[in-house]
Amino acid sequence: MVIAVASGKGGTGKTTVAASLASVWGGPITAVDLDVEEPNLHLFLKPVISGRATAEMEVPLADESRCNLCRACSDLCQFKAISVMGDVLLTFPEMCHGCGGCLAVCPEKALSPGVRELGEISWGRADRAGFLMGRLRVGEAMSPPLMRAVKVRLAEIQAREPGDVIIDAPPGVSCPAVNAVMDSDAILLVTEPTPFGFYDLKLAREAFEPLGRPMGVVVNRAGLGDRSVHDYCQESGLPILAEIGFDRRVAEAYSKGLIVAEALPEVRQTFLELADRARGLAQGTADA
């Protein structure tokens, strides 16, 4: 099963939850960091990395000697990545979305596949958990292409060593976040009981509802704020699967790069229960 840990608002504790869940899971598990812009999971799981690969995306390479300036490519491209300027064929590889349209439409075979570097994928093990992450090249604007490449690598890993998967998703509710959670069996929405947490939880629920995955809520820093999140979950029928009370010791353990479920025994208990409930959610077995 695949459990995605997401949130509308950044900084609610996705990585804290993903790391702790992975450490208490019990059974074969791969932890995947799909927050490729700001990957943090490795800072807590501290994996031993056994392999790396540069992820690239296909972009058009122009052979001007073959170009007859017909503009079929320029007319088709929706992203201004290829243009005929007067009598010159010009490409802007950083704008390219890798759709392959220009390559397919060129009647003169003037375009061939080139590459743009997206970032790096690395994998290894963290104790009993498998580990996989993507890291976007600074300056690369788009996350989804790298995220897709990480998912391809995940499929290869899963084929060799089947098991469960925990995904640390990027914050937000737009395309990167949707990309991260869309293939999961259950989505855990991490929030904090404040006006910001509440508003962004609503956004997250609206964003992910069309995906049709069961969703549950984890309330982090419970006690520091108000009841708006709790009331909302009750009204909307979103199960609260765990509450992590605000505790300075938790914040300090986190600030030292510790997995909070390993640093504090009562927190470990919370996560063991969360793991059970998350499994139940993914399998569709109700756990009132």
């Binding site: 992203f79 300027m85 010159v88």
Partner: protein
């Protein structure tokens, strides 16, 4: 040679528009005869992204040899340069007619690089 001047109005009396990618429009002026025609830049203004590239395409298609504008970002600069179109900077306020006059008198500087940092989006 034909020139393109980024303009806020539609004729030689129009004020020069300091922007290139999102200029209101371009006046295409024949350097010798001073005959001019107006090209709307709604494609550039409405372009959700790549406005500079779009504007560059518009003026390149009009067959100009040089552009007179206030500011030009890196993608537009790259596109114009690739098409062999020279870029001249017109500073401050003035009409398209004044800009063309200064150009013909050799009083405008040709830009060697983009004058604004890139905008993404």
């Amino acid at each position: 040679m034909k020139l393109a001047v980024s303009v806020q109005g539609k004729d030689l009396n129009a004020q020069v528009d300091p922007r290139f990618g999102r200029a209101a429009g371009f006046l295409i002026v024949d350097e010798e005869s001073l005959e001019s025609s107006y090209l709307d830049n709604s494609a550039g203004i409405n372009a959700s992204h790549g406005a500079g590239i779009q504007a560059a395409r518009t003026v390149a298609d009009a067959g100009v040899g040089a552009v007179i504008t206030g500011n030009c970002g890196p993608k537009a600069f790259q596109a114009l340069q690739a098409a062999g179109i020279k870029i001249y900077t017109f500073e401050g306020q003035g009409s398209a007619a004044e800009a063309v006059k200064k150009f013909k008198a050799g009083q405008l500087t040709q830009t060697g690089g983009p004058s604004r940092p890139g905008h993404w989006g």
